[in-house]
Subunit: 299 residues, 2 copies
């Protein structure tokens, strides 16, 4: 039986899963070998070290999504312009090794003369569509650079990037606010988080609302241990404020629970209802793409 | 004739000016001795080293504004609540040395349960009011933490802080965008700046618009040398987008030319007209405050 080695090779991590012909995950592993840690020319060596033993089984096909297809990656897979569905993306794979290893291209789109890009998230979106059995929807992939994606008729029509996770990290680590923010080991104070979201939704922008972390601390209005959750609410709330969500909007949130939980809670303040999909959407998306290729794939 | 030693003691710098009874600046100097560089208990020593020779003239009175009045400063001058005019601020000076050296309190205000604070800017606002001969207006003090100040009947009614300069520095130095941004020695590309402002004004927020620095660079749509000015336009434009400016609004912009020029240009895109006041507004404000004290001041 043929197998798929599904790989998500991002900026800071490298994850892989071995799937059978029905798309079931047989095993998974991850390595701290994101593309930033790999010297140009070393990608094949790193790949072999991590996945060589899985590739040696006859008929194993490997499909890679993420930053591995960027200019700084293993091999460039030029952006595929939106609107783009499964078939278009599958037809523009960058083959690293004919018939054995291919990289999924990222997507590009444009709004008012400004380009936008993603790499890896397109595969998660395709996976989520399959998992939910839908062809249309508004999907969000929270993260360092969150993506809001509009899908119609199974095609990604358009998307936009929000640097939410990165802004949070900058404020948390490098800003004047950093010294007011103790380490909380990822524990969320939901009341403080909700207060942050609420202020963001009625506020005039993060440039202003972020300063409230300082003043609430200065006047002892919020305990230090609650401030990181409050700031998280401010930043995520700012992202959600920017979305033109109609009343009763439905949003699919894709990612790890620690983040999707926050987005579900923040979106509730806008009256939106949420379906959550786990980060395994990548595996499902890679498996679905592999199915469209038909290079000896045994379905 | 009595003299005033006017001192602006901020977080990162210490500036002083000797003024005569008419408020004319006789001499000025500045030191890299912001309060962050002074150990607790060392303020008197640093002050003596920098200004001791100026204080020895009989009848020299010293008034200090800025972070020297904070909890981490020389002596705390508790915040004075808005609305606050000259007289209220002058009545709440923190005396370091009776009749000789006093610190001007900062101001606090509150909007929707969220406090806001300033230290030093209140003095610049009072100075600008004097220099322009006005009692009412909307004033902005651009900087690391920009302040938008509403004045009515000579009193500061309310204000709000925007962390504009700090966000710019964070993105410029610590974000993923940093590697796309070459050093430009403060040279402004005004066309790129205007484009940044324009996108900010029609955009949905800095979390999104900031990513355009990356994509314009990635697709070669904007030369690297122009990107820092573009980012500056994005960030300042974001601050200005948040202001509820009526058509034909008049705004007083206080500060050094390098910044006030950018704000005038950005505000023009909102149809606002600008009066600029230099950073010497501090000296004028301290002099005006000294006049209200009447502790043997010879007018």
């Amino acid at each position: 039986m043929k197998q798929l080695l599904a790989v998500d090779w991002g900026t800071s991590s490298l994850r892989g899963a071995l799937l059978d012909g029905q798309g079931r995950v047989l095993k998974e592993c991850s390595f701290a070998r994101g593309i930033l840690s790999v010297a140009p020319g070393d990608f094949a060596t790193v790949f072999e070290a991590c996945f060589g033993h899985w590739m040696r089984a006859a008929g194993t096909f490997c499909l890679i999504s993420g930053m591995a297809g960027s200019q700084q990656g293993w091999q460039e897979a030029p952006y595929c312009a939106c609107p783009a569905g499964f078939d278009k993306v599958a037809s523009q794979l960058a083959w690293v090794k004919a018939g054995r290893i291919a990289i999924v291209p990222g997507l590009s789109c444009e709004r008012e003369g400004i380009p936008d890009v993603m790499r890896g998230e397109e595969t998660q979106v395709f996976g989520a569509l399959q998992l939910l059995g839908i062809q249309d929807g508004l999907l969000v992939l929270p993260g360092t650079h969150s993506k809001w994606v509009t899908v119609r008729g199974g095609k990604i029509e358009n998307f936009s990037t929000f640097m939410t996770g990165e802004f949070y990290a900058l404020l948390r680590q490098h800003s004047l606010l950093a010294r007011s923010l103790p380490d909380t080991d990822g524990e969320v104070d939901w009341v403080a988080f909700d207060e942050g979201v609420a202020l963001a939704l009625r506020g005039t922008g993060l440039l202003q609302t972020a300063f409230s972390v300082r003043t609430l601390s200065l006047f002892g209005r919020m305990a230090a241990a609650r401030l990181p959750s409050y700031l998280s609410g401010l930043v995520i709330g700012e992202e959600i404020r920017a979305q033109p969500l109609p009343t009763g909007a439905q949003v699919v949130v894709i990612g790890a629970q620690a983040l999707t939980e926050r987005y579900e809670r923040a979106l509730a303040q806008r009256g939106a209802s949420v379906q959550r999909v786990g980060a395994d959407a990548s595996w499902r998306g890679l498996w679905a793409l592999a199915q469209t290729i038909h290079t000896g794939w045994d379905t």
